[in-house]
């Protein structure tokens, strides 16, 4: 009997499950005509956040389904321009040429922001290694070759650094992360600007490269002596050790949500919201940060789409910002969110 009872429970719960799913399927089928679907694609960096927004949003707005595919910034922009998607997303704001291709019918919305951290794997060295501006540029140019280089030990008198060769880890694919990182390095160092330059895909003078944030992360983890650049949320999630970087005012700042928010607060957003943060000036600003943009149309061919997109973006700018911090992104400062919301309200 004791065996028989749980058996009954299983079958009855399975039956219940079947029934409820059946009912749910039937009811969703009957509602199908009322659902508006909006499709977007683009950057992989904010993809976890947008997917979370989409699923949370669906719970409160059952008549709108949001699909997002993290195909990469470049592909996201071109799919948006050719109207394959209803909205796009990119880590790099669209260029004037790209805006012209879209017939000017584009609104670039800073949706969230992130910082890029230098994560390292040095045997026996915990988080918080201080790297000065000249040092981290020297490392990525291949001038600083060993971890016990005087350039590094000078700023870290309390840390015993091993004589391990430095392995620089970069991105092998084109990436907004690379664009932001090289943009910062080029702004700080004219030497870097001439030798490497900035862009989504550059030639690094040293080191190895992995595909995507995950590729870089695994290379850092498996290579003693490695240092590489990844998104903050990614580094936190994978428990990487992160360096404190010297900012423009000469302070060493650890990558945290607070230091990232400080950076955003000091940014002056222009009318088109296209602001590149190459070298923030505030005393406590973390030096490498970026907005990431949602690309929507100023006017949509159908009112349904316009309403749906507006509702989704508004959700992201309000309720969604709380989730952002949870996932390792930096929430937009209130002033920015309000300014952006005003523009979103104008979408037709």
């Amino acid at each position: 009997m004791e065996v028989y009872i749980p058996d009954m429970n299983i079958s009855s719960s399975a039956l219940k499950w079947l029934l409820t799913t059946g009912v749910m399927l039937a009811s969703s089928a009957s509602q199908l005509h009322a659902v508006t679907a909006i499709n977007g694609s683009g950057a992989t960096f904010p993809a976890p956040l947008y997917l979370r927004w989409a699923s949370d949003f669906k719970k409160v707005n059952t008549d709108i389904t949001v699909n997002y595919q993290g195909v990469g910034s470049g592909a996201g922009v071109s799919q948006f321009i050719s109207s394959l998607t209803d909205f796009g997303a990119s880590d790099v704001a669209m260029s004037d040429a790209e805006i012209a291709k879209a017939g000017g019918n584009v609104l670039m919305i800073p949706a969230t922001a992130g910082t890029i951290v230098l994560a390292y794997n040095v045997p026996g060295v915990a988080a918080g290694l201080k790297l000065s501006r000249t040092t981290y540029i020297g490392i990525f140019l291949g001038d600083v070759k060993f971890w016990d280089d005087p350039a590094i030990s000078k700023d870290n008198p309390d840390i015993k650094l091993p004589k391990v060769p430095i392995t620089v880890v970069a991105r092998s694919d084109g990436s907004g992360t690379t664009a932001v990182f090289t943009g910062h390095l080029s702004a700080v160092s004219p030497d870097f600007a001439t030798k490497v330059g900035n862009g989504k895909s550059v030639t690094w003078p040293v080191g190895v490269a992995g595909k995507g944030n995950d590729g870089v992360t695994s290379l850092i983890k498996q290579t003693p002596g490695a240092i590489g650049y990844v998104e903050y949320g990614y580094a936190v999630h994978n428990k990487l050790t992160m360096a404190s970087l010297e900012n423009k005012s000469g302070n060493f700042v650890a990558p945290t949500l607070e230091s990232g928010a400080a950076t955003l607060a000091s940014v002056n957003l222009p009318e088109n919201f296209r602001a590149f943060i190459t070298d923030p000036e505030g005393a406590n600003d973390y030096p490498i940060a970026t907005f990431t943009w949602l690309l929507v149309k100023k006017s949509y061919p159908s009112a349904d789409k316009a309403t749906a997109v507006k509702a989704f973006v508004t959700y992201g700018l309000t309720t969604g910002q709380a989730v952002a911090a949870e996932l390792g992104y930096i929430s937009l400062p209130d002033s920015v969110a309000k300014k952006v919301q005003a523009a979103v309200d104008g979408v037709k």
Binding site: G72, G174, V202
Partner: protein, 320 residues
């Protein structure tokens, strides 16, 4: 006579009727095989059409250029071409002695047939392992080995340019080691086929003249099977050149010229896999140009391999 005539007259109309009808099976086979040819032509021409803007813009300088900087629209694939050739050659160099030894072992009667069949099956099963699994295995097994022993090698023999440090885990050597394992089944299977096809009469003749087993293997069987073994090597080389996933995971993806085997490198296929998704503008055309080069190289190598293999099969068939 009469019986024969009836047979013929009974058979002929049936055959004629049959022949005059549409042979559906033949048509389907013809369609399927011509579809393959059309598909190949379509793929190759599509690649060349997409590559055309880059071919016009960069010309031959694309092949001799040493810098690949999409942000500056500078595209040169020489380091990648060298990486493709060296990683495949090195893999072949490592796999050929091993594969040939296995093939010999499996074609001679050192072990009972059942055991040999089992070993053969296991080795051919290596070909069934997905590329990404080889890549993961490389990350967890080969990379730590190369890191440890590579550092020692660089320290002791670093004065040779090919062992110059610093030793990277993700390097040309790592990729070549894993590639060697990946092409092993190709080499073993085709070489074994060639060795088995050596006519018994030759072997018996050799024994009859008083040769030992080793003398027979080295001076009769191997030379006879040599063209088949060459074909096996060429086909394995082609396979190594086209291999993508495992290589992209292990080679370090760097487009820099370096002499050292312990340095990261890149191959054409890995470059394409890494950069295609986020490429735009002329970079797409440049990547297509690189793809066209890869197609020309692999098609060329495979065609040579097939030609050699066919010639061998004809030659050994004549000896029987």
């Amino acid at each position: 006579m009469g019986g024969n005539t009836t047979q013929v007259s009974m058979g002929t109309p049936v055959t004629q009727e049959y022949r005059s009808r549409l042979d559906l099976f033949r048509i389907m086979c013809l369609l399927a095989s011509s579809l393959c040819v059309v598909l190949l032509v379509f793929i190759v021409s599509e690649i060349f059409i997409k590559a055309l803007p880059a071919i016009e813009k960069f010309g031959f300088g694309f092949i001799t250029g040493v810098q690949w900087s999409p942000n500056r629209e500078v595209f040169g694939v020489l380091p990648v071409l060298i990486g493709t050739a060296t990683s495949s050659l090195l893999a072949l160099l490592l796999a050929l002695p091993l594969g040939l030894a296995i093939a010999l072992f499996l074609s001679e009667d050192f072990l009972p047939l059942g055991v040999r069949q089992a070993i053969r099956f296991v080795i051919e099963l290596l070909a069934a392992i997905p590329s990404v699994v080889y890549g993961l295995w490389g990350i967890f097994v080969v990379i730590p080995l190369v890191q440890t022993y590579g550092a020692v090698l660089a320290e002791k023999l670093g004065f040779f340019p090919i062992f110059q440090g610093p030793a990277y885990g993700n390097s040309l050597l790592t990729a070549s080691l894993v590639l060697a394992l990946m092409v092993l089944p190709t080499i073993t299977a085709i070489s074994r086929g060639a060795l088995v096809a050596v006519p018994k009469t030759l072997r018996e003749g050799s024994y009859a003249l008083g040769a030992t087993r080793w003398e027979t293997i080295l001076s009769v069987i191997l030379p006879t099977a040599a063209p088949g073994i060459v074909a096996a090597s060429i086909l394995a080389f082609g396979r190594a050149m086209g291999e993508t996933m495992a290589v992209a995971m292990l080679i370090g993806n760097s487009q820099r010229l370096s002499w050292s085997l312990l340095s990261p490198s890149n191959t054409l296929s890995a470059l394409l896999a890494n950069q295609f998704a986020e490429a735009d503008g002329i970079q797409v055309n440049a990547l297509m140009y690189a793809a066209a080069l890869l197609v020309v190289m692999t098609l060329g190598v495979n065609m040579i391999g097939e030609a050699v293999l066919r010639r061998t099969q004809r030659a050994t068939a004549g000896l029987r």
